[in-house]
């Protein structure tokens, strides 16, 4: 690993006021580009009564309409394209597990921009020209492989385009080519680590120094496990195909949140219920606006990820705002007694306390106050014939949940396989409050 600190020092350490000025200049141009070239956007803006000349800078961002994933799906295959197809050089696509896929188009400028974001991420974890970067994300329509591959080229690293799968070959190349940086999903990193351990390798025999892991949620516990088994530092990365791909935000050596590449992507936090912008530092839904994309620029794209932005100075010297790891999806968010609660928070507590993840949240309303009950299936081995112990387990779970989310549910342990399932999965939330009557 080299001594290089930044891929693009001038931009990455630019004073905040200058970044905001740069964003304002770019936003004005981006809005005009979209309005003039994408009929879908023009209609949305016209309906909202906002014209490009109403946008003078980032302070006017709130005037623009939101874009939802459904908008991008509806425009399949190229209704959002802002340049002639002949100017495009690549497409990537989301997996489209539900409904239509979203196709993202790229000009060479867009590819360069995206790859530079990935290059910044790699340099931030210590990569330099001497490094060997093993890219074990999938290659193809998925953005993971192509993004990190391009970023690695830009830094000048030797790039191993492994793609995902074929673990035996992954481990052989890692050892024979002495890979120093691994890029893949955190679950695959954990799996590779376990495989190496099974083959008798100790962490100091593994050449890796750092890893960039993203594209799926992972916990601090997973991070520690991966760091221990592989003997590396494990870093988080964030991105969406709709915005560009991995590298929209990346973690630095401080490992305290991901720096958003603010010269390209403008981040806002909004109230997911009302759409109203929230001040920096508030918890809410993350919304992105592209600032200088050509082919597929989206404005105010609602990610559905709930997180917090942090503008405090970072020890790495970067000035770009940091986003916390998303703590849930706004689609899943419940508001209980005025507090935002996510099923993922309940799951995290169950996992940490050694309980089954078969649970159900029941919400009701008594005397105008919310009732909050969590039913959890007891694991057969947790049963020891004692009512006292069941009551004690219920109490300790309720306390752990209160510490996590701020309000305490009534926890009820129930026998295994008694929570109703649909398609093999327990139904997570039953809301009987009739709030919308």
């Amino acid at each position: 690993m080299g001594n290089r600190k930044y891929f693009n020092e001038a931009i990455e350490t630019m004073p905040v006021e200058e970044i905001k000025k740069l964003q304002s200049e770019k936003l004005v141009k981006q809005v005009a580009h979209v309005y003039n070239n994408v009929p879908y956007y023009r209609d949305l803006m016209d309906k909202k009564g906002v014209k490009p000349e109403d946008i003078h800078g980032i302070e006017d961002l709130y005037k623009l309409p939101f874009i939802e994933k459904s908008d991008l799906r509806e425009s399949y295959p190229n209704g959002m394209l802002a340049v002639p197809l002949a100017d495009c050089v690549r497409i990537q696509s989301t997996s489209g597990t539900t409904g239509k896929r979203v196709i993202a188009y790229y000009t060479q400028h867009d590819i360069d921009l995206w790859e530079e974001c990935c290059a910044r991420a790699l340099v931030a974890v210590g990569a330099d020209r001497e490094d060997v970067v093993q890219v074990s994300y999938g290659y193809g329509l998925f953005t993971g492989g192509p993004g990190l591959n391009g970023g690695s080229h830009k830094v000048g690293c030797l790039t191993l385009p492994m793609s995902s799968g074929n673990t035996e070959r992954q481990l052989q190349f890692m050892m024979d080519m002495q890979a120093t940086v691994l890029c893949c999903t955190p679950s695959y990193a954990a799996y590779l680590g376990e495989s190496l351990k099974e083959q008798g390798y100790t962490p100091d025999q593994i050449p890796l120094k750092a890893g960039i892991f993203g594209a799926e949620p992972w916990t601090q516990e997973m991070r520690r496990n991966i760091e221990q088994t592989l003997g590396i530092k494990a870093y988080d990365i964030y991105g969406l195909t709709e915005i560009s791909g991995p590298g929209v935000a990346f973690e630095c050596s401080a490992q305290g949140g991901m720096h958003i590449n603010e010269d390209h992507f403008l981040a806002e936090i909004i109230n997911p219920e009302t759409g109203e912008p929230l001040p920096e530092g508030a918890k809410g839904e993350l919304v992105f606006t592209c600032l200088d994309k050509e082919a597929f620029p989206v404005l105010r794209y609602r990610t559905r990820d709930i997180c917090v932005l942090n503008r405090e100075p970072c020890s790495c010297g970067r000035t770009h705002v940091r986003m916390a790891k998303p703590m849930g999806r706004s689609d899943d968010m419940m508001i209980i007694r005025g507090v935002n609660v996510f099923p993922s928070q309940i799951e995290a507590v169950l996992l940490a306390e050694g309980f089954s993840e078969n649970y159900q949240i029941k919400l009701g309303r008594v005397n105008n106050s919310d009732t909050f009950d969590v039913y959890v299936e007891l694991k057969p081995e947790q049963f020891d014939d004692s009512v006292k112990n069941i009551t004690a387990m219920e109490k300790s779970l309720a306390n752990a949940m209160r510490n996590m989310i701020g309000i305490g549910p009534a926890v009820h342990l129930v026998p295994p396989k008694t929570i109703a399932r649909s398609e093999g999965k327990a139904k997570r939330v039953v809301d009987e409050r009739n709030l919308h009557d």
Binding site: D385, I390, V414
Partner: protein, 141 residues
């Protein structure tokens, strides 16, 4: 002697008791006694049977939460004050009784009870030292 008791964590709803007894009957397991403790959410069914380990294995396979543990079983003369004597004896020794239920037997003149206390081994010792008749597991088979 302490004897083995099977207990099962069940839903507090109609039919859950029948599910358990039905499964055990099909496997030819003979139930000698049973007691149900229930709360608003769940019940604990406690069973004295001729083969508790086999019963647990069977219930485990079905995904039930089942447990086998030792409990104290003893006999007292079937007359007023018979049980009270044992209870005051245990209280005098500071033994904490978690639960207790009667065991069905065909032996005339005697009443058998099962209890779980804070310390099964210690309870057994107290009962023996004070001449209380214990139920031997062999009597159940």
């Amino acid at each position: 002697m302490a004897i083995k008791q099977l207990s099962v964590f069940v839903e507090n709803k109609q039919g859950s008791l029948h599910d358990i007894t039905d499964a055990l009957a099909k496997a030819n397991i003979d139930l000698r006694s049973m007691c149900v403790a229930d709360t608003s959410n769940y019940g604990i069914v406690r069973i004295i049977a001729n083969d508790p380990d086999k019963a647990k294995e069977l219930l485990d396979k079905d995904g039930h939460a089942a447990n086998v543990r030792l409990v104290n079983a003893f006999a007292v003369p079937d007359q007023p004050g018979g049980l009270a004597k044992v209870l005051s004896l245990l209280e005098g020794h500071g033994v904490n009784i978690d639960y207790m239920y009667a065991l069905i037997t065909s032996e005339e003149g005697k009443a058998y009870s099962v209890m779980r206390t804070g310390n099964t081994e210690e309870t057994d010792k107290i009962l023996i030292e004070n001449g209380i008749e214990l139920l031997d597991e062999s009597k159940l088979h």
